[in-house]
Structures are given as C-alpha cells and as structure tokens.
C-alpha cells in the first residue's frame, strides 16, 4: 500500500477515536448535570479538560450562583469541545480532518464509508447545538456517538481486511492508548480517592458492569484503575488496546513480528510487558502516576516509530533487493 495513503488511513483512525473519546466523556458528564452538585460538576469539568490536555475556555469555578454555572458555563465548556472553530481539537474539527483525509483516500475507501462520513459531516456542520442542548445537554454528544458507531459499523461491514483497514484501526488504537492513559492520569491525580469519580470513569469506559462482575458493586479506586489498565477484555483498557496494536502490526508486517523484531513490534511488546509485569496488583497512587507518565511517553514514541518504519523510512532501505 502507498505509504502516504497508509498514513492518511492511520490519521483518519486517530481523528475518529479523538472525536469519539471527547463525545464519550461529554455524554457521561453532561448526563450528570441534572442531579449532581455544582462543585462536584466543576471538579468533573477540571478532570475532563485535564484528561483532554486542553485549557478550558472559561474559568471553572462555582460562584454563589450555582445555577449560572450550570446553565451558562457548562454550555460554554461543552460547546468549546464540540463545535468551537477556535478549538483545533473540537469534535467537529476532528470530523473535518477525518473527512479531509478521506478525500485523499477515495480510491481505497468504499463508497458507503465515504458517504456515511460525508453525511455525518454535513449533519454535524449544520446541527443546532443550542437546540440539542435545550432537549438535553448530553443529547448532541450521544448523537455524535451514534454517528460514529454507524461509521464504525459501515467500516467493519464494507472494508476488506487489507492494509488500509489495518492502518485505520491501528490509528484508532494508538490514539486510544494515548487518550486512555491521559484519562487515567487525570483521574489518578484529581479524584483524590473519590469513588464516585471512578464509578463514572468505569461507566465512560464501558467497564462498570464487567467490574461489578469481577469485584463487586463497591468501587475501590485502586481496583478500578488496575481494571482499566490491565484487563484484556475491556475494549477501553490499555491492555486491550496494546493487544490490538500487536495484532494489527502482525497483519501489516508479518515478517517484522519474527526475531529479530522490527521496531514497532518490539515497542508494542514492551508496552504489553509493562502492563502485565508492572501492574499485577493495585498500587499506590504515586507509583501508578509514575508508571502512567512513563507509559504516556512510550505511547507517543510508538506513534513515531510506526511512522518512521512504514511511512518516512530512508529510501535506501526501501529499494527492492
């Protein structure tokens, strides 16, 4: 596959995942507006913005007028993440970026995938955020997630499992690794042992029911953190994402998975080993924080290694023998 096209698929996958990640967080958080004290909500916004690595557009402080915070500031905080043209990481911007990439991939992209993506863009571009907000603050993120799930479904149904698909999904999981690590970092730093925040995080990561089956309904932050780090059956756990990355790399470059391992395979193996050996048992916050900081750095490095190996490699290395 053409290296530039592979990179475009990879980035398209990353943009999808970014949009979905933000929508998922907003869906959960905005769903709590109805019954959560304002100061707890404000704390949640801080954690959310911290996890996304973005400075909030307005100050997140609850004044005497909690109502004003709920109605006005929450709207501004949500709008910034969804549709603000000033925010390069807003959901709409990620959708635009994914569509721009898709335009360059038309020869490889099934028509249905393109039209689904294109229709989604028109819908999001023209949708009335204030109107959705009036119907329910989390109704728009929920619809965004529906659109993204539809797109994922069309991709799964229509794309052959070739390198185009592999790079697209690889992008999704590399992005997921980075975003989920940042999420766990933010929650470890800001939750202060608050089990409610961890309950919410398990919900955001589609892991609450599974957690209850493995442990119990009593949520212990250390258990929840370990669960989201190392349970290989939870789609949003780090372990799950690393395993998917390893599988995809094996498909893209089967020879690279045999010894001596090529750089991306080696690095993915290191990430897998780190999760499985360093975090067998619940650990102290400080240790986990250090681990996550290192892990985040390794995830960024994984991206660089993939690009260097498959896209920007030296020409001499690529010549046919």
């Amino acid at each position: 596959m053409l290296a530039r096209a592979a990179a475009d698929f990879y980035w398209m996958g990353r943009y999808f995942e970014r949009a979905e990640h933000t929508a998922r967080l907003l869906d959960y958080h905005l769903g709590r507006l109805v019954d959560t004290p304002a100061d707890v909500l404000a704390h949640g916004w801080q954690a959310l913005y911290s996890a996304l690595g973005q400075p909030p557009p307005v100050s997140i402080t609850v004044t005497d007028d909690a109502e004003a915070f709920l109605v006005a500031d929450a709207f501004a905080l949500a709008a910034y993440l969804i549709e603000d043209p000033a925010n390069p990481d807003a959901i709409i911007q990620n959708w635009i970026n994914a569509r721009d990439n898709a335009k360059q991939l038309r020869p490889w992209l099934p028509v249905r995938v393109w039209t689904c993506l294109n229709d989604g863009f028109f819908w999001l571009r023209d949708c009335d955020f204030a109107g959705y907000w009036a119907r329910g603050p989390n109704s728009l993120p929920a619809r965004v997630m529906d659109r993204l799930r539809l797109l994922s479904g069309v991709i799964e149904a229509r794309m052959s499992r070739d390198d185009a698909w592999r790079f697209l999904v690889l992008g999704r999981y590399v992005e997921r690794l980075q975003r989920q690590t940042a999420l766990l970092q933010a929650w470890s730093r800001l939750s202060d042992g608050n089990f409610q925040m961890w309950t919410g995080l398990l919900g955001v990561c589609a892991a609450y029911e599974a957690y209850c089956r493995v442990y119990s309904m009593v949520i212990q932050p250390a258990h929840a953190r370990a669960f989201l780090l190392s349970n290989p059956e939870i789609p949003y756990s780090l372990s799950f994402a690393v395993r998917r990355v390893q599988t995809l790399l094996s498909g893209i470059d089967p020879a690279g998975g045999r010894y001596p391992l090529r750089a991306p395979h080696r690095h993915a193996l290191r990430l897998s080993a780190a999760i499985e050996t360093d975090l067998q048992a619940p650990t102290e916050d400080v240790e986990t924080g250090d681990f996550l900081a290192d892990f985040a750095q390794e995830c960024r490095e994984l991206h660089n290694i993939i690009i260097a190996e498959y896209v920007d490699y030296p020409l001499e290395r690529g010549l046919p023998s």
Binding site: Q104, P107, L109, T115, F122, D126, L315, R317, P320
Partner: protein
C-alpha cells in the same frame, strides 16, 4: 451553506389516483396514464421558448418534439412541477452525498463546490453519434501523427502545412521531446474534444490533449440519472459509457512492453487541484494507485513509489500534472509536484507517461485552425468534423478583422482554458472591449478569434421550470497500443445562466447526462 433538508432523505408514496413520483420515469408499478406529447410553450414546457437562431435539441422549429426526444419530452410533460423538482433534488443530493466536487480557482471561501447537475438528459441518435465517433477517430489519428512528425522528421513543417514559428514558438512545445521514442507512437492516449452544434451541424470547438478533465462528471451524471429515471433510461436503449475506467486501464496498460501486469498510477498535483475528485475517482475505478510527486522516486532510471513495505516500481503514469511541473530536473526547477529524474526514466523507455510531454502544442488554439489541413496532409482524407471559423491574430489581416469586429467575436488566448482569459464580444461592456483591444495589440500572437456561435440549446430544469439552455459536449477518446475507444456519450456541459454561452463549471456552467440512443427502443 447546505440546509438540513438537503441532507435528509425524502420519500414519496403514491396515493390512489396519483401515478406516484415521476411515474413515466421510474419503475413505479402504477401504469402511466395516456401520455400527452409535449409542445413547446404549453404544459410543463410553458416557459420553453423556441428561438429560431439556435438549434433546439428537444423541439423542432414548429414546437413539436423531435423523434429522438419524443419519449423523454412526453414523460417530462406528464410530470408535475413537484415531481420534476423531486427528480432534480434527487440527482443534486446524490452529488452532494458522494462529494462530487470541483474547486474554483481564486475563491478561497468556497473553494470546494458541488458541480451543478441538471436532471434532464440531452438526447442524440446513434447515427448522429457515429458521425462524431468517426470524426474524432480521424482527428486524433492525425494529431498523433502530427506530434510524432514535429518531434522527429518535421515533414509537415518543411512542407509548409503549419508555420514553423507556430510550433516552435508555442509554450507547450518541448524541445526535450525531440527524438524521444514514444511507446507505440501514442502521444495522446486520452483526449477530450469539445464539440458544439449549430444549425450547420456538429463542429469541433477545441481539442484538449494535455490533461482533459470531466470524465468523472460524465460517469457520475450517468449513474445519477440512471437511478433517477430508470424506466425511461431502460426504454431508450442508451449506449453505455460506464466501461470508461476499464477501457482507460486497458489502453494505458497496453502501452507497456516489458511486463504483462503493469502497475498503473494516476499522478495528481494533490487535493487542492480543481479536478482532484476526478483523479481520485479514476484511480479508484481503475484499481490504480493515486500518487503525488512526493510519493515517487527515480532510481537507476526506474520509477518507484513508496509503499509501506518498500519501494515498488511504477510502469505507467497517467499524469494529471502539466508538463511544466512533471520533473524539476528537466522542466521547471521550482516544481514541487513532479519527480526529479522522471523525464530521464521516460526517455530511457522505463516508464510510460500518458499523455506524453509536449502534446500541448497540438491543442494550442492557434494550431487548431490547421487541423483540417493536417488531416488532409497525413491521412489524405477530408475532415469528417468541421472546425469553427478561426482568425489568427498573429496575422495582420486576422488582427485587423478581430479588432474591427470585436463586438461580434469571441476572442481567446491561444493557451487558455477553463473559460478564463476570453472575451465574448456580444456580451462584453465597452470598457471590457477597450481593455481587451489593448491586450490584443500588445501581444496579437497570443490570441485567436471566432464568430460567436449559435450553440444549440437543450431542455434544462432550472428555477423550478423547464427552459432551454446552451450546451456543448466533450466526448473522451482513448488510444492505446492499437485501438482507439470512444465513450459513446460525453460530458454535456450546459450554460446554466439564461442567455450565457459559457459552459465552464468555473464560470457558472453545469453538466447533464448525454444519451446516445440506439434506433430500436424498448417498450415501457
């Protein structure tokens, strides 16, 4: 801005007593009622005014339907305004959803636009088309021989068929091509020739031999219209244009001599190019690679593209990049779109480039005037398709005539395209004419003039009603190792603004499907 309604799916259910939407056109199970034939100026064609100055594609001069358009015109006449609107909306929405776009040069704020499509097809009979087909084959054959001649022996120049300075002074003439062997002498593998129709018949307006575009819109129009009016389409027994991509692939692949399984790539300037949609479309349909200059490298005289598993050789490049930008080592050194060393690989015979560099000299608007002579010279035949009367401003008589008749003529730059840099005398203001006259006097060799043609008009559904609009057609001709293949149809361009003669999409034009119908019709 596209409203929500634009992206929603609308459906309509036939009600008792109602034939359902476009019953005459679709596969609606209800039988159409007894159809009343259309007459210009009545029924659905109330606003359709016949103008005797222009040949009408739908109606005869007495306002009755032509034989070829009887079925289409009758179906349109029996559809309500709402049904026609629904039809038009359906094809337009299809273009929107599929992102069938073009880019308008110099309009940053609305760079990417959906190409306007009209839902009413233009109809041409098979016998009329066969005449065009033969004329195009003849023309392309002669032009290929001419190109081989000027880059080798130059007999046509020595014999005075074409002036030396017209060829050697043409910016598209490539000295580097002198003596270069072109695979199977197929200098032009893809040609798009603009053909107009007047009361005098069909005539060639210009040849596009460099990187003719528009074929994707032809195919998209056909797909959209087929879906919108399947019943009528089937009944008309229309000749099929959809095999174009596979024909393009096989014609390009046939030019390769060193392998049976060549790797074909479409070279695009990138996503900001006005025809990027088309480049991506063709690559996808052919199963070819869509590459940019930065994806390729020349090594040991071979051309490679960078894949995820190393460099892979490319055998054929269907380039959609102008000569100037193909290779910064040979042509423009500041080009970032090309591949350093590509021309060296081409001269060494290690890659096929279609169309060959230097073909632009034969689609220069000044050289156009000599094409009938070239046909006579190289083929010893009379031209099947006529040329439009052309005055070369490079000659004193041509310049004088042009300046004296500026208000009646269309003046074009010899190397211009896309409707830019031209003056339509009858529609120009006094100031525009004065300014253009200055430009003419300053550089007369850069201009030609032609009479303002009475382009034929076809029915269009515009502003909620059926009205005539001026049209032309760009058929696409493919030439490979031995064969020439012509898509039986073409991009029918339409000047959507009332009275306008400019059909270019960048200047307010749109497109419509062109049906070449076989004589024997199927029953509805």
């Amino acid at each position: 801005m596209v409203s929500k309604a634009d992206t929603s799916v609308t459906t309509s259910t036939p009600s008792p007593g109602n034939l359902g939407p476009t019953a005459h056109l679709s596969f609606d199970r209800a039988r159409p009622s007894v159809a009343s034939p259309a007459v210009a100026g009545t029924g659905a064609f109330t606003h359709y005014a016949i103008d005797s100055r222009f040949r009408d594609e739908m109606f005869r001069s007495d306002g009755t339907l032509r034989a070829a358009t009887e079925r289409l015109g009758t179906a349109l006449n029996n559809a309500t305004s709402e049904q026609l609107m629904q039809l038009q909306d359906g094809v337009r929405r299809r273009f929107l959803h599929e992102g069938i776009t073009f880019t308008v040069i110099g309009k940053e704020e609305a760079a990417e636009q959906i190409i306007p499509i009209d839902c009413v097809p233009r109809v041409i009979t098979a016998s009329e088309w066969d005449h065009i087909d033969q004329g195009l084959r003849q023309r392309l054959h002669a032009l290929n021989l001419f190109l081989k001649d000027i880059y080798h022996e130059g007999w046509s120049l020595r014999d005075g068929i074409v002036p030396h300075d017209l060829v050697f002074g043409c910016p598209q003439y490539r000295m580097e091509m002198l003596g270069t062997k072109v695979p199977h002498d197929a200098y032009v593998s893809v040609c798009g020739t603009d053909i107009v129709r007047t009361h005098d018949g069909f005539a060639v307006l210009e040849d596009n031999l460099r990187v003719p575009s528009g074929v994707s819109y032809m195919l998209a129009c056909r797909a959209a219209i087929k879906q919108a009016m399947p019943r009528l389409y089937r009944a008309h027994n229309v000749r099929e244009v959809l095999p174009y991509p596979e024909q393009l692939y096989s014609q390009l692949a046939s030019l390769v001599t060193w392998t049976q399984t060549p790797r074909v790539a479409v070279l695009t300037p990138g996503r900001y190019n006005s025809a990027y949609y088309e480049h991506a479309f063709l690559a996808g349909e052919m199963g070819a690679e869509l590459v940019e200059g930065r994806d390729m490298v020349v090594h040991d005289g071979l051309v490679f593209m960078r894949t995820v598993t190393g460099l892979k050789r490319i055998d054929v490049i269907y380039r959609r990049v102008d000569d100037d930008f193909l290779d910064p080592v040979t042509f423009r050194s500041d080009s970032l779109l090309g591949v350093p060393g590509l021309f060296h690989a081409y001269r060494a015979g290690n890659v096929v480039i279609a169309n060959a560099p230097g073909t632009g000299v034969a689609d220069d608007k000044a050289l156009y005037a000599y094409v009938p002579d070239l046909i006579r010279y190289f083929l010893s035949e009379e031209p099947i398709l006529a040329n439009v009367e052309t005055h070369l401003c490079r000659s004193t008589e041509g310049l004088t005539f042009t300046l004296e008749n500026l208000d009646k003529l269309v003046v074009k730059e010899v190397g211009g395209s896309g409707g830019y840099g031209m003056l339509v005398g009858p529609h120009a203001s006094a100031k525009e004419k004065r300014d253009f006259a200055k430009r003419l006097r300053a550089d007369p060799a850069n201009f030609i003039s032609q009479p303002t043609l009475a382009l034929s008009r076809a029915a269009c559904f515009t502003d909620g009603r059926l009205e005539p609009r001026h049209v032309d057609v760009r058929p696409f001709v493919l030439r490979g190792k031995e064969d020439t293949w012509i898509a039986p149809g073409g991009l029918c361009r339409v000047a959507l603004r009332r009275g306008s003669l400019v059909v270019n999409s960048s200047q307010g034009g749109g497109c419509k499907d062109l049906w070449v119908i076989n004589e024997e019709q199927r029953s509805l």
